[in-house]
């Protein structure tokens, strides 16, 4: 039996039936990491010793019949943006290359309490700023399907880990598409829940009104099971509304008969690779065969989403990264200068990479007096238009089907000299962050070069039950 191919729920079933142990599974993954991580660069830190201890503890619990949850003993990888107490957390930036957090992120605590085995920390674009993981201080993560191409970003390492057989599931963050895009590139499932559904406490902030915690899995069922454990209000994160957490698994196989889905024409226009468009239309046909109705809809503000995002996000990023001054935490610069202000310049000049510097400069610029109204305030109003578009359309349809990425996975270096070209890869994913709605990317075919294509499904805020049902129906149809 190939332990590495099993889903989280299959692992749980296997543990209960004593077909294999958590230690066996953990060792299998650690072995795979030892063999393939140099090629894929998915992990920036492996915590093998503690992983085996955690697996041993899980096995003891299964033997005693006191297992903690459906995730007990299951190996997981964490994007290196999640604080892990006592374990180096760098956000793949020189600024934090020696940082060891004194506390766990809430999401990490919840996973620990569920009995998860932590394999290590995964690669990402520095401070989550990028769409390819090329902006990591550790170099890019490569795509397991075609290692000459990037895994996508910013959660590239986590996507490569799950798709490449280096973890049973992995955590990520998504501010403009940073889970969904790498999931599409690598051919696995990536969930961005509703904004505020999962606590961001202990996760380094990028753009606080857009950042969302989510995860990569092999199956829709796994995605639902993990959200079940992580969702919920947290007093340590003031942006988590006190909305009850429903049972995501109970009616997972309800099916889509009688539902209406929308294909937004702006997401299937020129600029989207023709093979990707074809794959989405083919998926729509599958849904029609399953008893759903598919209609064309329009979200006219879509074309402004990237511009809106590249004003609002850098503005918020510049505020969030202002704390990195190499004083309370962060790297002490090699040259320190004479005064505190000198010290800031040196610490931040040495610690931050190019993409971070670009975004901080844009952010401080659009927030400065004289430009605030023209750029930032205008962008926030455009954000309302984007949100209103979704509100209007969701009165007519139950879900939206779109491509996740307008382009297939590219080669490293192809988009580095033209930042705007890189930004446009997020054109289909950004609107969900703008409106705070959930989105999931599911694999829906390959290009003629064998590169994965992802289909994205959107539903209204807090409707993840429906989201999983829609995704599961497609997943089941493809297996038959």
């Amino acid at each position: 039996m190939d332990l590495l191919s099993l889903s989280v729920l299959e692992l749980h079933d296997g543990f209960l039936k004593k077909k294999f142990t958590s230690q066996e599974v953990t060792r299998a993954y650690l072995q795979q990491i030892a063999e393939k991580n140099e090629l894929l660069n998915a992990y920036v830190l492996t915590t093998s010793e503690s992983a085996l201890e955690e697996a041993q503890a899980a096995d003891r619990r299964f033997a005693e019949g006191t297992s903690l949850s459906v995730l007990d003993g299951v190996p997981c990888a964490l994007k290196d943006i999640f604080n892990t107490k006592g374990v180096r957390t760098t956000c793949c930036s020189k600024m934090l290359e020696r940082f060891v957090p004194p506390y766990d992120a809430t999401a990490v605590t919840k996973l620990r309490q569920a009995g998860v085995v932590f394999l290590g920390k995964t690669n990402m674009d520095e401070f989550a700023c990028g769409g390819s993981s090329e902006h990591s201080c550790y170099g890019p993560s490569m795509n397991p399907v075609d290692p000459s191409r990037v895994a996508g970003g910013s959660s590239g390492g986590s996507a490569a880990a799950v798709a490449g057989g280096l973890s049973a599931f992995a955590m990520g963050t998504d501010t403009g598409g940073s889970i969904r895009l790498p999931a599409a590139f690598c051919g696995c499932i990536g969930l961005k829940p509703t904004y505020g559904r999962i606590s961001r406490s202990g996760v380094t902030a990028m753009a606080s009104s857009l950042d969302t915690i989510g995860h990569f899995t092999k199956t829709v069922g796994d995605s639902a099971a993990i959200l079940q454990i992580l969702a919920g209000h947290d007093p340590r994160d003031a942006t988590t509304p006190d909305v009850p957490v429903p049972d995501y698994l109970k009616h997972l196989e309800k099916g889509v008969k009688g539902m209406t889905f929308g294909l937004p024409k702006e997401y299937l226009a020129e600029g989207v690779d023709p093979q990707i468009k074809e794959a989405i239309f083919a998926a729509a046909k599958v849904y029609e065969q399953l008893g759903a109705k598919v209609v064309e809809v329009s979200l006219p503000s879509t074309k402004y989403a990237v511009a809106m995002y590249y004003i609002v996000m850098p503005a918020e990023l510049s505020a969030n990264l202002a704390r990195f001054d190499g004083i309370r935490f962060g790297s002490r610069p090699k040259q320190e200068g004479e005064s505190s202000v000198d010290y800031f310049y040196h610490a931040r000049g040495e610690g931050f990479g190019s993409e971070i510097k670009r975004r901080i400069m844009i952010g401080t610029y659009v927030l400065s007096a004289g430009y605030y109204d023209a750029f930032y305030n205008k962008a926030l109003k455009v954000r309302t238009l984007i949100k209103n578009d979704f509100d209007r359309v969701f009165r007519e349809v139950d879900a939206l089907l779109t491509p996740t990425s307008p382009i297939p996975p590219f080669k490293p270096g192809e988009k580095l000299d033209d930042p705007v070209a890189m930004y446009l890869a997020d054109a289909c994913t950004i609107p969900a962050n703008a409106a705070g709605i959930p989105g999931i990317s599911v694999p829906c075919g390959k290009t003629s070069d064998g590169l994965p294509i992802g289909m994205q499904i959107f539903v209204p805020q807090f409707e993840e039950v429906r989201l999983f049902q829609v995704a599961r129906a497609y997943e089941d149809a493809l297996k038959i």
Binding site: R236, S301, T364, K378, K381, P419
Partner: protein, 84 residues
């Protein structure tokens, strides 16, 4: 405001790139958004408060101070002079 130390090479490279980015975002000038309010956050939450008490279960002063790479004396981090 950004307090970023840049090399001459970086200044040159960034000038072009930033100009391109800012030119791109000017597309928002096309949009008439005069009838809408700005959305700064999507939860609708307001004034989320908590009691003003210290939670020392979360992390301790010593743990926080030990994150600094600068010298720590008497629970204070020694920094460069702020005032000349």
């Amino acid at each position: 405001m950004a307090r970023l130390g840049l090399t001459d090479e970086e200044v040159k490279k960034f000038s072009t790139q930033l100009t391109n980015i800012l030119q791109y975002v000017e597309v928002l000038g096309e949009v008439d958004a005069s009838s809408v309010e700005a959305t700064s956050q999507v939860t609708g939450l307001k004034n989320v408060m908590r009691d003003d008490t210290v939670d020392s279960n979360w992390t301790t002063r010593q743990e926080l101070l030990s994150c600094s790479e600068l010298p720590v004396e008497q629970d204070q981090i020694r920094v460069k002079p702020a005032i000349e």
